[in-house]
Symmetry: none
Subunit: 255 residues, 2 copies
């Protein structure tokens, strides 16, 4: 159809991400060089360079001057998946997980949702609403939007047996997650679902996840403040990696 065609560097990125997702390119494999890509894709070298550079920033490949471009091993996705799935988390505590589906519908992407999921307005989006229980005590209200084209059979799943998160990872491993944590007062119906006291706040996690290089799902996870908390353990050595450059510059500037 009409849709203004994507920029060439983006098309190149999409193609390479696709090859990685399909297993055509496996971790450690060498990706075509800039010159080869420029030739085969009929593109200037600068355009191929931009595609590969952005893939580097996004963690898909590693580039070594003089050697080449290599597919990275994203095996730690188990880490992301662990946090994705509240059923696993509950099982790890040795407790019983159960789940009630409140809603499972189809709707059309529009406005913020469309841009958050990077779909054209009007695209099909599945909306799920569930309550998760830990030993029969409600612990999470999950509001989830899923890009329909990524998970066409979404509405036929039995989400009392498999969580949406587990279902999504079964289609394709999730690559990336972006999340925001907030403290809010719940809406009355959420408060009832979670059996919360009248003035108790909720701990809200907004999470957007990526697979195959595209956002595929947006979740709003609400937890009773009195019964749920997030914890983490950090070691500077390892976390300095991601934004090392920025942080260093800023620290030098703000002395």
């Amino acid at each position: 159809m009409s849709a203004t065609s994507k920029p060439r560097y983006q098309q190149l990125k999409d193609r390479i991400i696709g090859q990685i997702s399909d297993g055509e390119l496996r971790p450690g494999d060498r990706v075509s060089s800039e010159n080869q890509l420029a030739h085969s894709s009929k593109v200037s070298r600068m355009t191929a360079n931009r595609a590969l550079r952005e893939l580097t920033d996004e963690g898909y490949v590693e580039r070594i001057a003089g050697r080449g471009t290599f597919v990275l091993d994203r095996r730690a996705s188990s880490h992301v998946r662990d946090v994705q799935n509240i059923a696993d988390e509950i099982a790890r505590r040795g407790h019983q997980h159960s789940c009630r589906v409140l809603r499972a519908t189809r709707r059309r992407a529009r406005g913020e949702l469309a841009s958050a999921l990077d779909t054209p307005p009007g695209a099909s989006i599945y909306h799920l609403q569930l309550v998760h229980f830990e030993n029969s005590v409600p612990i999470q209200v999950e509001d989830r939007d899923v890009v329909a084209s990524f998970a066409p059979a979404c509405l036929e799943q039995d989400f009392s047996r498999i969580t949406p998160s587990a279902y999504l990872t079964s289609i394709c491993p999730l690559q990336e997650a972006e999340q925001v944590v907030r403290a809010e007062l719940p809406r009355p119906e959420v408060r009832d679902w979670l059996q919360m006291k009248s003035q108790e706040p909720v701990l809200v996690v907004l999470r957007r996840t990526w697979a195959r290089g595209r956002p595929v799902s947006f979740a709003r996870l609400q937890h009773p403040g009195s019964r749920y908390e997030l914890s983490g353990h950090y070691r500077p050595n390892e976390s300095e990696f991601a934004q090392a450059t920025d942080v260093v510059q800023l620290e030098a500037l703000s002395k």
Copy 2:
């Protein structure tokens, strides 16, 4: 000193980030256009373009085709990883940090606090209580216990000029951090300090930090739910991820 000079686009980025941190460029301000930058910095337009594009990716500026490039007003939001120093965080948003010290006392470790900081009962502990402001709006109440033997001169510091976190890292780099995030209702005095509405919840971060292989500080950081959120971006390759678990030791401390 001939150190391989940084690439030009990076120098340009550094300069603009510096202007944002210094307040020379304030949120909403217009940044010079690509053509202006190219001319003034004696650089090609593509190089200026790359600098501005990367600043966009990193959340510093917003670009609107046909209109220009504008400094973003970064919402109170910090990466869960580098929540070390709220002053840096605020500076990075191009805002003004200030601080009021409510309390700075010495007390004796006992019970849970002694075991959390791994000191013998009766050991000296400094207790600090501060309110941090972002552009004169209160954004954090910091309650911090510091092992006195680690920071003997703690009480002589001027914490309206250097944050406790910055002071601690100046003594010795922090090695490790353990943190828990919660949603709670604030105590009335905290609510007043943070100028919060009556039923607004706080986002609480409990953090224990290690240096020289020992826990040296325990902090309870409370933020107004309507004005503060934690955000994070996770890729499988970057290791640490906040996980939902029970942390018994910290729980008892936060009564």
